[in-house]
Point group: D2
Chain length 353, copies 4
């Protein structure tokens, strides 16, 4: 609970951005997987700070160090322990937020819940935690190489990529720093984020994720429907405010005769409003979903806030924060999706004795 | 897993719509709660079929029968067993769907996953299951009477209730059969559903839920954030395609300086884009979220579909189905919310030794 | 938790001996198992009261009624709901124990933990609950017909069956009411229990269980070792005070050179002090273990005890209680073992993607 | 599962004896505990190798390094990550066991289950793992300082400490290297272990554990009885073959009139055959139990065994192994008991909303 994700393929994590290291334990990874460590590091590099001008300029190499569960490069079935040493937790001055609660952060709620709060760099609430998930997801991806998971930026502020995903070339996702597989839209997004950054402000966005080549039959009714598991995973990411799959919120305005996905003889469907999942179980069609991210709460503008005694104080964000988290959120969305998928493949396998 | 919901306050359910009974076990309910059985039955009545002209005309009394865990009307701390006898599972002819897969139902996915399928009335995939959840939620509500949970219909098709929830009078929700606390909008919705029904079609909609008087500190970071738990719960409901809380998908288009909720001296906030949850933990403000429902897949119109051998066949929905599930979904949304809340109150309590 | 057993093949139960029914939900049973309902009832008959002169003379048919999860006699993969109606909960007078705590029962601890106690027939603490487990175990056995599970009475009081299990004929277990596969020892046990009963007293005993034809590789290190799961299961049975497997407590007095099980070329071992499990994982040899049962606490003799106000009062057991639970515990031990086995077969399967 | 222990206070571990480090994540530890790091290290020192002449002479400092979850020396409620660097995993020659299965070790079962095996130092099956548990237990102890947990050596081979625990002085446990609070018996044990060691052999033993000052009401019926949780925990320790609590196996030979614990007016009992637990729930009396350890399988004597191809080969244990694990098992037993206790205090608290 709390710091554990998954049922059979699980990850349990720890770490604050300003402690010595973050890390975790991957428990339940099948034995016999020959790991490609470069591929794992590459996923971390997609998430790491400082990678482009539209993300935070903090520098952190995010090198993962495996401590157990792998022998001669191959998983043994034992739990996999890993850590990522924090190299950027220099004794910066955090005294200005020690006794203050930043608006729309978790400072206030953590203080109320736990009494004792690690205020440095957001403590456990820092999105630095998601580097751990990327490690777990990178291992998960290698356990299910046949499944293709592609996430990309589909909105930044009011700039929307309207093209249906079927018409996109996913190989372009990594070709620009917005991670939008449409160069024109990507340029608009990059420019807009640049502007927002100049204002000391931040902006939200939307990530779309497409999962292809999924076997039929994954997902556990009634309370572990595949989309419910995916939804919970995505809603765990910092700043996420919404999740929809298939027709999503638009589907709510449709009629049944429009929305029904008519079958082809081979069990595939002519349309895919269902989003690849029916009754909580994958039907072999593409799974696709959208994840909404709010704007980062730290703005480099003066704001009113309160201190722990309820006094109104002036506060201004310091440090190097992301003007828009969406480009760096892409590998995180994929990582969580990969862990959900491998978990459900294992669950499905277990049911077929 | 699968048929179990919750961590400490759990419900594990069973039942097909055409078997002898549905039911479940509530495990972990605190001892000493004097149950109001009429209130429980009233919740079931809000969900039951046949209650109005805009829902299915099937008749089912949905009387809950408690079998254990209650002594002299008071919970004992033991598991609470209950069942609801199916009175409407007459030997209707289902041979027409025995070997056919209805479009956008779970017939195909269940057949592929399990091999052996109960085709009568949808078997385990029937939304009849949600009556079990309403029982669990009704008990949960009584464990936390101080918390106010109100769900209502906010959209049917393209008819949207735009009024901010703060300006609505929740006591009007039950005053009309659309369960929309704005009589004018309700009338529009009722008319529209009536039309759709005449066409043998169905339509989707949106439910908004508001949870008030929530203590500060509920929710478990990192992977059991309060909104992630609520989201997973809502995504478990049949036909749900999306979940958003607080600013939701609209928040993705905002800037940080707009979106930040500025504190009042007492820790409350001037705005509530956060939706009552920050860092996954309740902050004492109202929690509110939206749930998108697709249109019911069973339409009384001829459609192409396939049989188990992949032959294209004609099919036409039979029986008495809901033209729009949203009015009957209201108590289900509330029930799940109540179970999530009591579970998190218990989890929070456990952490404070 | 609490009323749930198992990881992937789970049973969640409810029921008090004097309520309307006991029952439960089997969640995770694989689809496609054609159930032999007579075999399930036969297991219940082995456990039921009134079956012989050395067990309680209470009469209870213990007829199981399945409510869901089975279609045309075959499991569907959906949760299986069942109940056993209580026919013997007549409005007996329990006022004498309402405010008293029987020695070595759970009256006092339940009262302290829950405040509100169902004092009729022991409420939730009644071993009647184990009938639910027998249902779960009987279904589990049918999921893994290749595995042979035989439990038998190996001690009653100081009468011990010393013969190594390899020299016993398990087909004799059901040939006598003591369920001891050695007629001479069985006669001694039956006579002794008869005597004890005449004195209004009770006596403890030991059950040995042997599991044969187990595949190599079952069990989950580190904290779900196969024997740890079996041990926890057995320690859940009312009145159990100890569990040992393989060499058990005697092994603690041995030296390594005596205790080591030397391999045969095919991976089997010449001796089996390991009890079929090494490092928590089955090695293909017979699994065997012993379970110690204390004497039933209800004696038909006058005893001092206290009431809820701490006054010393005289009490004398009433009703029809077992002079020795061991003969009726045999099917319970087997049932739990079967559920542990099927659960671990599923877990093992999941790991091999 | 597998590498996770506990329900609300959990530890998830990793590590092989010859990898870079072992470690784990403590998830669910309450916030606000001011940790005494010396006390934690002292517990590790009680378990560490090389501490006396009757244990393995391997040298390993076992210094724990905390990486997260603690701020200014106080727990924050976040997950606590820790590791213990392996300093003694020098590139020793393990080629002799690479393709051989040591008798009564887990080499064969791990090979069969996982295919790919870390053969160095036993890999994940090494009892080095238990150092992680000692860390978890040491933190747990500090969360519940009021509860007194004392384990000690009660048997080595056939040398038994027969004195009832009530007559022992627990302050003597650490006064000798056998960890037996009776100097005369301790001397006998030490001599015997010395002899056994000279023979290149090993010997088993028994640990008794006494838990005092336990509040009434801990434990979760039906399947998480306090003693069942303790039993499962103890059966997780390498080499454990049996667990009994209260009267244990001896209780099986007693009559009910002997075995019943008669109440004192204050709810305490005159005798304590129940072992402090009735119906799975603590009754406030001392909890006591015994744990049987088999002799270590590695003997420095030539033995027949097989290689992976089923050939009979000669093998002789190398390295520095424990002639008797019992003295070093004492802190491990205590650590697991402490984690079970704190977990159940949290569970009990959760139930009392």
């Amino acid at each position: 609970m709390a710091n554990k994700f998954g049922n059979l393929f699980t990850i349990t994590t720890f770490g604050e951005s300003h402690g010595p290291a973050i890390g975790g334990v991957i428990d339940g990874c099948p034995a016999g997987i020959e790991l490609d460590f470069d591929a794992i590091q590459k996923e971390l590099d997609r998430r790491k700070p400082g990678q482009s001008k539209i993300v935070t300029q903090r520098k952190e190499p995010d090198t993962v160090e495996f401590m157990a569960g792998i022998f001669e490069g191959i998983t043994t079935g034992a739990s996999i322990g890993f850590r990522i040493v924090n190299t950027n937790q220099k004794s910066k001055d955090y005294s200005h937020i020690k006794d203050q609660y930043r608006p729309s952060h978790a400072d206030y709620t953590y203080s109320q819940k736990y009494g004792h709060r690690d205020y440095k760099g957001g403590g456990r609430t820092s999105a630095r935690e998601t580097a751990n998930w990327v490690v777990g997801g990178a291992v998960a991806k290698q356990a299910i190489p046949e499944i293709k998971i592609n996430a990309f930026t589909s909105s930044v502020g009011n700039i929307h990529l309207e093209t249906p995903y079927q018409e996109l070339d996913f190989s372009l996702i990594e070709s620009n720093i917005a991670r939008c597989p449409d160069q024109k839209k990507a340029d608009e997004m990059i420019d807009y984020i640049g502007e927002i950054k100049k204002q000391g402000d931040t902006v939200g966005g939307v990530v779309t994720c497409v999962i292809q080549n999924v076997p039929v039959g994954l997902g556990e009714p009634i309370f572990d429907k595949l989309h419910a598991q995916l939804g919970k995973a995505m809603l765990s990411i910092n700043a996420v405010k919404g999740f929809e799959y298939g027709s999503g919120f638009e589907g709510a305005a449709m009629t049944g005769s429009q929305h029904n996905d008519i079958f082809n003889p081979n069990g595939s469907t002519k349309t895919n409003y269902s989003g690849g999942i029916q009754g909580g179980i994958s039907n072999g069609m593409d799974i696709y979903f959208k994840v909404a991210f709010k704007p980062v709460a730290t703005v480099i503008q003066e704001q009113d806030t309160i201190d722990k005694d309820g006094n109104i104080v002036k506060m201004m964000g310091k440090g190097r924060h992301d003007p828009c988290v969406v480009p760096r959120a892409i590998p995180i969305v994929e990582a969580l999706a990969a862990m959900v998928l491998v978990d459900n493949i294992m669950l499905d396998k277990a049911r077929r004795i």
